[in-house]
């Protein structure tokens, strides 16, 4: 057998036989073997359901999807069956609107309503509630039950999720998602009869990184979005836009909702290849920096009115004009902003904003991407043997970790298939599969949340991981791998991995960049370049647009070190949405002092923006159109949910505006994003032609506001009955209004959905109306554009490879000290999110008990890390076996602001003063988080009251 030919990983399996099923007398082609519910929904029938979920399959609990099955065309009576539990077979006769089945469906709702409270008016789910929709659909409108309703106490589940158990209809979806799908173990169904309780053993913060999905998985208002509830609006009063999560390099598709100028919530936006039906909590709750006090809302360092003209800006900036102009790009700025900056200052003056070391690592990633097309998240789920290399996926790219968890089930699916159990029979597959799992080798230095499904998860020293990778590369040579000082049994582990790889049809290696470990990445590269064709490789860079930035890097592009080394006395340095946290504090000061002018374009404050001569307020992703490039090299556009308030502009627009003063005047006549894109596509070989993606869509505007945007006429009615004019959007295919081409015509369907809604389907469940089939692609799907994959890349940096040590890690007494990766404390922007600060770990240093002696702090509770510049960090010392011998993991909030780890010169036992100060600081910080949270909330609420007055008063 030719092992080099991977099987078709497409789960949608279009080849499955289509058979004829008669539904209410009409012959319909359905896919054989599907369950009848998903097959009928795929044909856009309205059949109510609760417990079934497109990603989680059937269990047959709610009995809502009942239909009648007849033996033949003649039979009148038939029998009631559950569509979700019935496989489609040829020649079935099904009655959907058959009276007994319809009555039964109504009765199911009636039964649920015996306990469901009549609190829709005060329920956060109201108006987007699947239970409401299904109730209306079944026609249940009259209460027949006269007894009392059961009541429960609710639990405190942390700062992200509200719990209101009285509303529960016991569909078991929450438990199945949280425990079975996402692997959480602090949540379950408790009790029995009509007192089943879904929650934790006791009050406490939900531990799963995917807890936010409960909000969407729950068909009613038991689990609701807590930050959204605190500053609430109905779904029909939200203005929404399709967007892309900025939290990591996966690029999950999201829908952002806004009202009265503040962003209220984020929900999942289905994408077949990437996030499917689920996003992580960073994606759902990690947007609130855009509403924060730390937003930069006015220009600093220049006199500028809010409604300035371009020439006024040029005049204001004239005094900063200098001999040379340099631009520093950013991994989190949009593709267009980076490209605009590069073309403004010229490629010789463009600095990537990355360190030398990051450049070396990115070169490797691009080299592997040229040879191996990175798999999508959906393809990762199809893999039957995964090797994760030195990366805690749950903490750096959580959605990938969720996919890896699903991939480990493939062995169980195979086993169930042998027994004739279809894969949608969720409980039966789990019963048949038991602990049968596909191979997952976690080659990591610290335990992670995937350990429970892993074949191998013992912490290994990074050097041992490299050795294993090298061993895997030597396919033909005998295994001559020797043990490492700290790690034994490497030879047998190597053998085990090799055997697993031999049997695997779709093996996959996943490596990440949170450690930026060059030697590891080199070893993966070597492996990848000589690997059989069916081996897949996925690299996860650490930021949303790292690959977009990487594709703009050419032989002229400078690293941060190269830029700093220059004499900048006569230079203006323009920093694009970057806090330069990879530099030390001293380097940041040095840059500000040395450069003649430091201009920072950013949306939130940072140390750098404080040091800057000029600060220009940019629009975050919620107020600006643009695109980002995910780990696969996929270019994904995102759209502003509201226009920015002047003088805030998208960063790419600032680049256009600065061009006349600091640029090469190439961008002089460009004013819009589409013009910029056209220019870039023409003048930059690394910038793709996006017109295919967007041009046709611009012809037909689609609405950002739903049909029931009731506030439109009511919200200002106490002051004026005249409707304010809605802002114009000339850039995107979306209007800031209810107006737009119909969502159901062909052109309307070509657009991504600003929000998910279909007649009769007000909740997010409505997405199925816009899928080609259940779990399939969206029917709007435009052609995918990828960059950073081509083999024509000039790998200029390869030649400049040096012996530079990784500046992000510290070697101390034989200990390799790295940053602790944590989903809610990974980057500077998470610092601006109160909920995340509450969820972030305490400042700590994790070491293996055997290494405690190396710290000269045996039995200390705290250690102090002293830096060259006499600053210090006091952290709790935690000894645990979770960390490999010879490694240690450091977490301290300072690490998000600058490269504090590189400057550590000594680690000593913390003095009692240090400890007291640290603890004092911690509790003060906690208090300030809570204060800041309530302050921000009351500011937003106050503004809600003022906005109508402002709008009416100023007449705009």
């Amino acid at each position: 057998m030719d092992k080099s030919q991977p099987d078709n990983p497409d789960t949608s399996n279009p080849a499955a036989a289509q058979v004829t099923v008669h539904i209410d007398g009409e012959p319909v082609k359905l896919r054989q073997g599907d369950n009848l519910l998903e097959a009928m929904l795929s044909e856009k029938y309205n059949l109510p359901y609760f417990c079934w979920h497109p990603a989680m399959g059937s269990i047959g609990a709610c009995r809502q999807c009942a239909v009648t099955q007849f033996a033949d065309q003649e039979q009148q009576k038939g029998k009631t069956i559950m569509a979700c539990m019935t496989p489609v077979s040829d020649g079935m006769y099904i009655g959907l609107n058959h009276q007994p089945a319809a009555e039964f469906r109504e009765q199911v709702i009636a039964a649920m309503m015996t306990n469901h409270p009549h609190d829709c008016p005060v329920c956060g789910e109201g108006g987007a509630c699947h239970l409401q929709d299904m109730t209306v659909m079944t026609g249940h409108s009259m209460r027949r039950y006269q007894g009392q309703k059961r009541t429960f106490s609710n639990q405190y589940l942390g700062p992200l999720i509200n719990h209101e158990m009285n509303r529960c209809i016991t569909c078991y979806r929450c438990e199945r998602f949280y425990k079975d799908y996402a692997g959480g173990n602090d949540f379950s169904a408790c009790g029995s009869k009509n007192q089943v309780y879904f929650g934790r053993q006791q009050d406490g913060i939900l531990e799963s990184e995917f807890s936010g999905n409960l909000v969407e998985v729950c068909p009613t208002g038991v689990f609701t979005d807590k930050p959204f509830s605190a500053h609430y609006t109905r779904k029909w009063d939200l203005q929404s836009a399709p967007s892309v999560c900025q939290g990591c390099a996966v690029g999950c598709n999201i829908s952002v909702g806004e009202r009265y100028g503040s962003v209220r919530r984020v929900v999942n936006r289905y994408h077949h290849d990437i996030n499917g039906y689920f996003i992580c909590d960073k994606g759902r709750f990690g947007f609130s920096y855009v509403n924060n006090d730390s937003r930069i809302e006015t220009a600093r360092g220049i006199e500028l009115s809010s409604e300035f003209k371009p020439h006024q800006l040029a005049i204001a900036l004239a005094r900063y004009k200098s001999a040379d102009n340099f631009g520093i790009g950013s991994e989190r700025a949009s593709f267009e902003s980076n490209a605009a900056l590069k073309h403004m200052v010229g490629s010789e003056n463009f600095c990537s904003g990355l360190t030398d070391y990051q450049h070396f690592c990115l070169d490797i990633i691009r080299s592997v991407m040229s040879a191996k097309q990175p798999p999508s998240v959906n393809e990762i789920e199809q893999s039957d043997c995964i090797i994760v290399i030195d990366e805690d996926l749950t903490q750096s790219a959580a959605r990938i970790a969720l996919a890896v968890r699903q991939a480990t089930r493939n062995a169980a699916f195979d086993k169930a298939e042998q027994l004739g159990i279809p894969r949608w029979q969720d409980a039966a597959v789990r019963t048949a599969g038991q602990a049968c799992r596909s191979n997952l080798f976690l080659l990591q230095s610290k335990s992670s949340k995937l350990d429970d499904v892993a074949t191998y998860a013992e912490p290994l020293h990074p050097a041992a991981i490299i050795k294993l990778l090298q061993g895997l590369g030597n396919a033909n040579q005998p295994d001559s791998i020797s043990d490492m000082p700290f790690d034994n049994g490497l030879a047998s582990l190597l053998q085990e991995i090799k055997t697993a790889l031999q049997h695997a049809k779709r093996p996959l290696f996943i490596a990440g960049c949170s450690a930026w470990q060059l030697e590891t990445l080199q070893a993966v590269e070597q492996l990848a370049l000589q690997a059989p064709p069916h081996w897949q490789f996925a690299f996860l860079p650490d930021a949303v647009n790292t690959m977009g930035l990487a594709s703009l890097i050419d032989q002229h592009t400078m690293s941060l070190e190269q830029l700093i080394a220059k004499s900048l006395q006569q230079s203006t340095v323009i920093v694009l949405e970057h806090s330069l946290s990879t530099l030390t504090r001293a380097q940041q000061y040095q840059l500000a002092e040395q450069s003649q002018t430091l201009i920072v374009i950013d949306h939130n404050q940072s140390l750098l923006s404080e040091l800057a001569d000029v600060v220009l307020p940019s629009a975050p992703f919620t107020e600006s159109d643009g695109s980002s490039v995910n780990y696969m090299g996929l270019v994904q556009p995102f759209f502003a949910v509201k226009p920015p308030n002047s003088p805030i502009h998208p960063a790419w627009h600032w680049c256009l505006l600065l061009d006349s003063t600091f640029g090469r005047q190439n961008l002089a006549n460009i004013t819009t994003l589409s013009q910029l894109r056209a220019y870039l596509a023409e003048h930059d070989s690394s910038f793709p032609d996006m017109s295919r993606l967007l041009a046709e869509q611009l012809l037909f505007k689609s609405a950002r506001q739903p049909m029931r945007y009731s506030g439109r006429t009511a919200m200002f009615a106490n002051q004026t009955v005249h409707e304010p004019k809605s802002p114009q959007d000339t850039e995107s295919p979306f209007s800031f209004s209810m107006e737009g081409a119909g969502r159901t015509d062909v052109q309307g369907q070509a657009l991504p959905k600003a929000f998910s809604w279909a007649p009769g389907w007000n909740s997010e469940q409505s997405v199925y109306k816009y899928q080609t089939r259940i779990g399939g692609r969206m029917n709007h799907r435009a052609e995918a554009i990828t960059v950073a994959r081509g083999a024509d890349k000039n790998l200029a940096w390869q030649q400049r490879k040096s012996d530079t040590a990784n500046p992000g890690v510290l070697s101390f007494n034989g200990l390799l000290i790295r940053r602790l990766s944590h989903l809610f404390a990974n980057d500077a922007l998470t610092d601006d999110i109160a909920e995340f600060k509450l969820l972030a770990p305490v400042a700590c240093l994790l070491v293996n008990p055997a290494d405690e002696a190396n710290l000269a702090a045996t039995s200390a509770t705290h250690v102090t890390l002293i830096s060259d510049d006499k600053t210090s960090m006091t952290v709790r010392l935690i000894t645990c076996d979770d960390v490999a011998r010879g490694t240690a993991y450091l977490h301290h909030p300072l690490l998000n602001l600058h490269n504090a780890i590189a400057q550590v010169s000594d680690i000593v036992q913390a003095s009692s003063d240090d400890i007291a100060r640290q603890q004092q600081g911690q509790s003060e910080q906690l208090q300030s988080i809570l204060n800041q949270k309530s302050r921000a909330l009351s500011r937003l609420q106050k503004r809600d009251q003022q906005i109508p007055i402002q709008i009416v008063g100023e007449g705009r």
């Binding site: 809502q64 009631t80 039964f104 027949r144 006269q146 007894g147 009790g191 009509n194 159990i421 048949a432």
Partner: protein, 432 residues
Amino acid sequence: MTTDKPLTQHINQDKPLAMPEYIDVGGYRSVDKILQQMSAQDVQDVVKDSGLKGRGGAGFPTAMKWSFVPKFEDTDPRSGDDKYLICNADEMEPGTFKDRWLLEGVPHQLIEAMIIASYAIGANKAFIFLRGEYHLAAKRLQQALDEAYQQGYLGDNIRNSGYQLDLYLHTSAGRYICGEETALINALEGQRANPRAKPPFPQVSGLFGKPTIVNNVETLCNLPHIINHGADWFKQLSNNDDAGTKIYSVSGRVQRPGLWELPMGITVRELLYQRAGGLSPGLNLKGFLPGGASTDFLTVEHLDLVLGYDEVSAAGSRLGTGGIIVLDDQNCPVAMVLNLLKFFAQESCGFCTPCRDGTAWAVDALTRIEQGQGSQQDLDNLHKLCDFMWLGKTHCALAPGAVEPLQSALKYFHDDFEQHIDKGCCPYSGHH
């Protein structure tokens, strides 16, 4: 020597036979017989010929159930997979106490039987899933198990045959639903005791996903005698087409409540009047549940009904466990049904909507009617609920089991319900 009471001939409720005594009266002879003379298929064939049907309530042919366990060629890697036998001793059906008698009175008989069944299906591990409240049975079974291990009837290489069987006693935490075989399996695995969706049936994917047979205590206890005396002997024990004997029991206000091992297919009249001595003085028969709480009421007109699986079904009820519960004319049928429905609502696992919310709704309506606050709407709701919770619409048979006494009471005792509503009180109050 043969007997017409094979199951109960050696029962001693005060002091069950210890291993040597049990062997002296012919115990474990069947084990030696199958190990020395019969293949697994032979055992299955004899049991098939005997016509033995499951005594747990459904009356499904035992050998046919066994035959669904997949058989693999020796070359198939799955042929070495574990298979399991489970004895369902979670006897919680209201009005049913026959298994308890067998478990406490002659525990070795069950162990002997389980060796036969395990051998027949090729299982090397077997479990007794015992009702948690059966403390005495647990003690006696464990003692018998210890003896059987000591005497080499359990464990490795049983009686030098090369056959190995480990038998474990598991005491339940106490849920009626664990009597449903897949809920039992979930409980045994340490999961919530929710029934599983079928298919797949446990014979294919049961305990820990492996082929599993679950048989009732009384069903299993017939096996040694079928092996010893043959299929024809077993068939001639009965009065009707159902082979063998049946342990019938009677509870309620009769002269002599109790249980008796009788030929399959005796009449209700014989059981109620000859064995149980008829109703207590001053009382008349109003109706009865023929086979435990989850069967339809029958009435005086069914006294000459033959108590066989098909016969009772034809009369609109089920033989069930054979545990008759008598309703006399001084007891309120509404109160009785309410009591039963409270039990079923309490024991619902909470998985599917009709059962979880329907049984509780029925309790609410029945309570109101019994308390004299009921209305015609409550009665309508009860009729609707009977249809709502019927077979095929629920996840398992618990709710349909709850419907059976309710729907038949609504049919046979309709006037009593109406009177409660019309009079605004329970007409029986004061007579209880």
